[in-house]
Symmetry: C2
Subunit: 322 residues, 2 copies
């Protein structure tokens, strides 16, 4: 199968493995401090879900809308200054309403679904959308195959979005499954971008449900392991807590220590260096003992300056790695 995008868009890039909010904020920092066309994000699609007959790709939309500068800044998802007129009418018509979709937001799902129906694949659609928004970072959905992250709970198996949004991440986790992963393939664009990467960064995203699905695709882990360029990860765990999302419960379920050290152990063999927060400085020696370099810095991306600072620190850190 051919790559979908031009050679220029996927060759010799800083490749970022991305989930949703954390990755989006990191990429927004990178977008400020390097040439955006030198960045390529491989984005998790395991959280994708269909609502009202529309295909919804939360992580792609979060990354894209963040880079487009139209994300709701407080939430980190959804579009700024959006309204809910369509959703309230859908509610009147008896449609499920626990997954809030704003009016502007809906346009993405409507047009994505329409273009899929016309035969375009998600790589082509995402590329068309990001250009329409003036985003210069290349955005690559991890796969064109259906991969769906499901969570087992005492009440039964639910889609990740049902667990996270509908049930507010309150259910006990008794299993995590990437449905469809066995038959799924990373896209040719994803594999090409990894093969030709000038550096690989694992964004501060959920190691299990965001980065985990990307790494579970055939050849992705091997390509990263065989690279001749530096690879680093930014810990999504700061001071023993997750900045955003349900990572803590998931790490607990998976038996991964909820700390930057636990994350480092989880990525051991895959990366050369870990970026951890100042509050976790004491963990640096233990991480170094795993054979990794460590960079200690401020990883809380609460404003544009801090996003840029973290991105710059990561690029400088990568440059020091062999």
């Amino acid at each position: 199968m051919e790559t979908q995008l031009s050679h220029n868009d996927i060759t010799h890039k800083t490749v970022v493995l991305s989930g949703g909010v954390g990755a989006a904020r990191f990429l927004a920092g990178l977008n400020q401090i390097v040439d955006p066309t030198s960045i390529c994000a491989i984005i998790n699609t395991g959280d994708d879900i269909e609502f009202h007959g529309l295909v919804i790709s939360p992580d792609i939309d979060i990354v894209m809308c963040t880079l487009a500068g139209i994300i709701h800044p407080g939430q980190g998802w959804g579009i700024i200054d959006d309204s809910d007129h369509c959703m309230s009418m859908l509610r009147t018509l008896g449609a499920p309403d626990w997954f809030m979709l704003g009016d502007k937001d809906l346009a993405l799902h409507i047009q994505r679904t329409a273009l899929r129906k016309q035969g375009l694949n998600e790589t082509q659609i995402t590329d068309r959308f990001r250009r329409a928004f003036g985003v210069n970072v290349t955005l690559l959905p991890m796969t064109h195959d259906s991969v769906q992250t499901h969570i087992n709970t005492p009440a039964g198996e639910v889609h990740f979005q049902e667990y996270l949004v509908r049930d507010r991440a309150k259910s006990q986790i008794t299993g995590i499954h990437y449905h469809g992963i066995t038959g799924a393939h990373a896209t040719p664009d994803v594999l090409h971008s990894l093969r030709s990467a000038t550096g690989i960064i694992i964004a501060p995203s959920n190691p299990l449900v965001s980065v985990g699905t990307i790494l579970a695709l055939p050849n992705v882990r091997q390509l990263i392991a065989q690279r001749h360029v530096p690879a680093i990860a930014i810990s999504p765990i700061v001071g023993g807590a997750a900045i955003k999302g349900p990572a803590v419960a998931m790490l607990n379920y998976a038996g991964i220590e909820v700390s930057a050290l636990g994350i480092a152990r989880h990525y051991q063999g895959l990366i050369d260096g870990m970026v951890i927060d100042n509050v976790d400085a004491a963990l640096a020696p233990a991480i170094e003992a795993l054979g990794m370099a460590v960079c200690v810095t401020d990883t809380i991306m609460s404003d544009d300056m801090r996003k840029a600072h973290l991105a710059r620190t990561c690029m400088e850190f990568m440059a020091t790695l062999p």
Copy 2:
């Protein structure tokens, strides 16, 4: 094939053959002056079109939203106090934007498309929607098959909505086609409602593109011709002009005189009586000469009182017919 709705909803009703705005206003009048559950509207679906992958049924929505009291009163289509946030984002994403869809309006198309995907047919979907809106008139889409009214113009063949909305009805008409009509069937509910009707009213809708498609479905014209109950039509032409829509150009193309008399001739053999406007009173003798009864009244439905008045006059007129 079985009827979809309960026997009670489609038996012994005043059946109204309906297009869009004119029919909707007439039904709103009828809705005020008789038991709404005694009315059944058979609605044209030949204007249906797909946009952004969504199924849009303009006439069904116009009738339903008018009866629900949420129609945009000035336009006669679209929902009152709607916004265009989704549409403006669709425009950003490169989607065609000449067919305006408000945010609330979109919910109808999204949910209709989703329910079709789930296997419901348009009769079931329309019934679910009208109940959600508290509409007590039975609304029957004329067919479950795809019928598409196309207009031939010197520049080529276009969908009726392209002719009407995109090209603002400015093209010369060189042909009118109901694509798909040959293989299409009226629904069992439509046929049952006609067989058991207590009276049949042809609403003041476009005789060619609104009523014409309904009458072109197999058995519909025959069932009306063979009826043992009164049937009347309300002229959509008043003083030689159409109240709404592109009827004049279409009648001219079809060689039908643009007058209440021309409409009466067009429906000759199908109805017992014509309701015409006061301004057309002088045409009454010529219409009577065709063998029809004539009722002369105010047919301009500019407010609720006038809608009710016209509906009452029509019901009283029907009661005088043998």
